[in-house]
């Protein structure tokens, strides 16, 4: 039977009268020789938000996949509503009222919202045996309405913002009468405003008795919305406690297993000459008339909402797309018809936001990933010099303290944070003078985050020009010397470090005056 007294330090006093939805006890899962989850207890009560935190590779997702029917536990049991169950598929788990919303949403972009909601479900039929679209649309509308959202259910999912896709995924879970919704990093690709909307939806859900498991790296969110927190580390259960009994420092200590002094590190540096400059840079439908300068030794934060054109701008600077108008100058020299190869020669390197699809060749060994962009430098007559390759890879892996697998192991063996460090190592191996970092800490645990921040600071100290694209305001504010804000493809604001604050940046990003953003939030929901 599910009980709130769980783990080493359980305290269920705030929720004694609540009924349990599911409980895992002594759950263990091994992959080959690796124990991903080691004898973990976890339970979820009706109407609560139970946050599950831990560094990448701590076993959070694996633990939840055992409830969600993706993995069967090797040891231990899963109970739903007090009865032992073993789900053979996610479909069976969903049938029992447990819905998982994975980090990468499994929606069909080309289908409409209504169609997405009914994929894999019994669809209502008309008398003639055709699809009863009318009923489906009505049910879709009702399901979204129950979360206080109104969207055009006939719109295709690809037209929706990331936040709305997230909401459609939740609506799909609710349509199946979910009693428990498991969210894996739901805000990873949301802007702060979009996240607000999600939190309201979560509040509505719990008010109606649904339990929510909330996996996130963003601790401030965890503290804001959760009732209980469970910490995992290295596949083991560390602590479960009511949120009110924990504070941020302690939580980080529990997750990392050691004291973490400072998350952000930024020291003052002298800035030098202009390294990268754009004038009137335009790419139809993506960004327009962008003037931007980044000096040597300077970190310029590029803030804005998703879809503001920041990624497209950075990719154009790296030669992945062609600009329609305007000029790119590197060290004062105008460059035309840029390609990634040419950009690399000029000393520019872009670290993409999508680690898996754009940053890494997952089956390749770690060493080959690190050296992929510098093969021209470690080859003789086209032949790869293996000694040089190995030595280079080891040097950069060591300087970024990449941990968790050997140089010859495929990069996919590493945790997310360490994979991200491999992507960074690849770019640093090229020794660029201008680095374009696109969401360099997305989906990365606290420990790796602080290491990446230290790295950014070091790079600026070495006189490199850094353009930092981030949707985390705190990151932008703490790391940048200067902040440029983009909105709908245009530069909508520029602030020195000293004059910037969250309000001003949000105002520039959303196109409202400072002070009005809060009201806008209200109106939107």
């Amino acid at each position: 039977m599910a009980s709130a007294d769980n783990g080493m330090n359980g305290d269920g006093s705030t929720s004694v009268e609540r009924v349990g939805i599911f409980a895992l006890s002594g759950a263990t899962k091994r992959f080959g020789g690796v124990v991903a989850v080691d004898g973990v207890d976890f339970d979820l009560l009706e109407g609560e938000v139970h946050a599950l935190v831990g560094e990448n590779g701590a076993g959070k997702s694996t633990l939840m996949k055992m409830v969600g029917g993706v993995h069967a536990p090797d040891e231990g049991s899963v109970e739903v509503g007090g009865e032992a169950v073993s789900f053979a598929s996610p479909g069976e788990a969903e049938g029992a009222g447990i819905a998982m919303i994975p980090q990468e949403l499994d929606l069909f972009p080309e289908l409409t919202i209504a169609e997405n909601l009914f994929v894999g479900r019994k669809r209502p039929r008309t008398r003639w045996g055709g699809m009863d679209w009318k009923t489906m649309k009505e049910e879709a509308r009702r399901s979204l309405g129950s979360m206080g959202v109104s969207l055009d259910v006939g719109a295709t999912v690809k037209q929706l913002s990331t936040a709305n896709r997230q909401i459609v995924a939740i609506a799909r879970a609710l349509l199946g009468d979910a009693k428990a919704v498991i969210m894996d990093e739901p805000t990873a690709s949301l802007t702060e405003r979009e996240a607000e909307k999600l939190f309201e939806v979560i509040a509505d859900l719990t008010a109606s008795g649904v339990g929510v498991v909330y996996i996130s790296h963003r601790l401030e969110e965890v503290f804001r919305i959760s009732d209980r927190i469970t910490v995992m580390r290295d596949g083991r259960h560390i602590k479960t406690a009511p949120t009110s009994d924990l504070d941020s420092d302690e939580l980080v200590r529990l997750m990392v297993g050691r004291e973490l002094k400072e998350l952000f590190s930024r020291s003052r540096h002298e800035t030098g000459d202009i390294a990268l400059e754009t004038r009137g840079l335009t790419r139809e439908g993506e960004f327009e008339d962008v003037d931007l300068t980044v000096r040597r030794g300077e970190v310029v934060g590029l803030a804005g909402l998703i879809g503001a054109g920041r990624t497209e701008l950075a990719q154009t600077l790296f030669g992945l797309h062609k600009a329609d108008a305007g000029e790119i100058r590197i060290d004062g020299e105008a460059v035309k018809s840029l390609s990634p190869q040419k950009a690399m020669e000029k000393g520019i390197f872009y670290v993409p936001e999508e680690r898996k699809s754009q940053g890494l060749i997952s089956p390749f060994p770690i060493s080959a990933n690190i050296t992929l962009s510098i093969l021209d430098r470690i080859c003789r007559m086209g032949f790869v010099k293996r000694g040089r390759e190995r030595e280079t890879a080891e040097r950069f892996a060591a300087s970024l303290s990449i941990r968790g697998a050997g140089m010859d192991d495929p990069v996919s063996r590493l945790s997310g944070g360490n994979q991200q460090k491999v992507v960074l190592a690849k770019s640093l191996a090229r020794e660029p003078s201008v680095l374009l970092l696109d969401e360099p800490t997305r989906g990365v645990d606290v420990g790796a985050k602080s290491e990446i921040y230290r790295l950014i600071d070091d790079l600026a100290g070495e006189g490199k020009a850094v353009l930092l694209i981030s949707s985390e305001l705190e990151e932008i504010l703490s790391m940048s010397d200067r902040i440029v804000v983009m909105r709908e493809g245009k530069v909508s604001g520029e602030f020195e470090r000293s004059e910037a604050d969250q309000e001003k940046i949000m105002a520039a990003a959303t196109g409202t005056k400072a002070g009005q953003t809060a009201e806008v939030r209200e109106e939107r929901t």
């Binding site: 390749f364 790869v384 495929p410």
Partner: protein
């Protein structure tokens, strides 16, 4: 650590090893079966003689391996062979000196490959559709130029390319061995080879890492065209005839050999060693069936069966590895 992709992980390389052992085992079983069916089969003379027939398929399979590793395909290789044959035969018939006609033919093969490559890269079209188009185009050109006629009035020295022996060893076998060594080195040891695997596994990430994806792909299709040119010259010389139906159905043997050798049509995987084993298995099977008196229609059927078995095996190994 000779091959790039499946290297490294201890147990993975063991599986790869066992995969090639499986292929070797299959080859041995076929050899034994064939020698039981026909007493002539297991003689050195016949085995070396067999090699005269698989070198053409083998040469083209080397290029096809690289194409398939990048998740591409080239259906036009058989038609390209017809095109090369007709260019060599009919330019010779029209008064061009034979050495020049041979060069023209090889250049035509290369040009056909470049044509495929340009469509695949510049226009970003799927190789399956592009080469299905050129499959028809090249064959059509070959028939059109030759008017369904054949040229076989070649001077005696031309036979050298496809019929010469060095001791007991057919000349083209030596050409093949050299080509295998060169392509193996390129694929397993060079930057270019690394790029080929990178593109096959994740083209987008390769592009984001500064890999010149278009140039690499163009080079692969062009290189395959060149190998077709080379194979065609050997073929014309071996059969002493140049005609528009040369290389009919050749793409089936080539693709079957490469897939049997372990290259994944999803890209990223494949080795030259595997492909060579695939070529040997198919050639042995064909030769053995011929000696056993199985009609060519049934050979085609069996080849189809073999291709399906190969695809199934690949799926099986992929799941084992995953």
């Amino acid at each position: 650590m000779s091959q790039y992709t499946e290297t490294s992980r201890g147990f993975l390389s063991r599986i790869k090893f066992s995969r090639e052992l499986v292929l070797l085992g299959v080859l041995i079983v076929i050899v034994i079966a064939m020698s039981l069916l026909s007493p002539v089969f297991l003689t050195l003379g016949n085995l070396l003689n067999t090699s005269r027939y698989f070198v053409e398929i083998g040469l083209i399979s080397l290029g096809m391996t690289l194409i398939i590793i990048t998740a591409g395909i080239d259906l036009s290789v058989g038609s390209n062979m017809a095109l090369v044959s007709v260019v060599v035969g009919f330019s010779f018939l029209g008064g061009v000196p034979l050495p020049l006609a041979i060069v023209l033919g090889v250049v035509a093969g290369l040009a056909a490959g470049v044509f495929n490559g340009l469509f695949v890269t510049m226009l970003d079209l799927h190789p399956l559709v592009v080469t299905l188009g050129t499959f028809a185009m090249f064959r059509g050109l070959a028939y059109g130029f030759s008017d369904a006629d054949a040229v076989s009035s070649f001077p005696a020295w031309f036979a050298y390319f496809g019929q010469a022996y060095f001791g007991p060893i057919p000349g083209q076998l030596i050409v093949f061995v050299i080509a295998v060594a060169v392509v193996w080195l390129i694929l397993s040891r060079t930057r270019f080879g690394r790029y080929v695997y990178a593109i096959g596994h994740n083209e987008e990430a390769a592009r984001f890492s500064g890999v010149p994806v278009e140039r690499v792909k163009l080079a692969i299709y062009a290189g395959t065209g060149l190998l077709v040119g080379l194979a065609s010259v050997i073929y014309i010389s071996r059969v002493s005839t140049a005609r528009g139906d040369a290389g009919l159905g050749l793409e089936l043997d080539v693709i079957a050999a490469v897939v049997l050798g372990g290259a994944s049509i999803y890209g990223g995987k494949g080795t030259i060693a595997g492909t060579v084993l695939g070529v040997l298995i198919i050639a042995t099977l064909r030769n053995g069936l011929l000696l056993a008196g199985v009609p060519s229609t049934w050979q085609l059927f069996l080849l189809g069966v073999l291709l399906l078995v190969a695809v199934f095996l690949n799926e099986f190994f992929r799941k084992e590895e995953g």
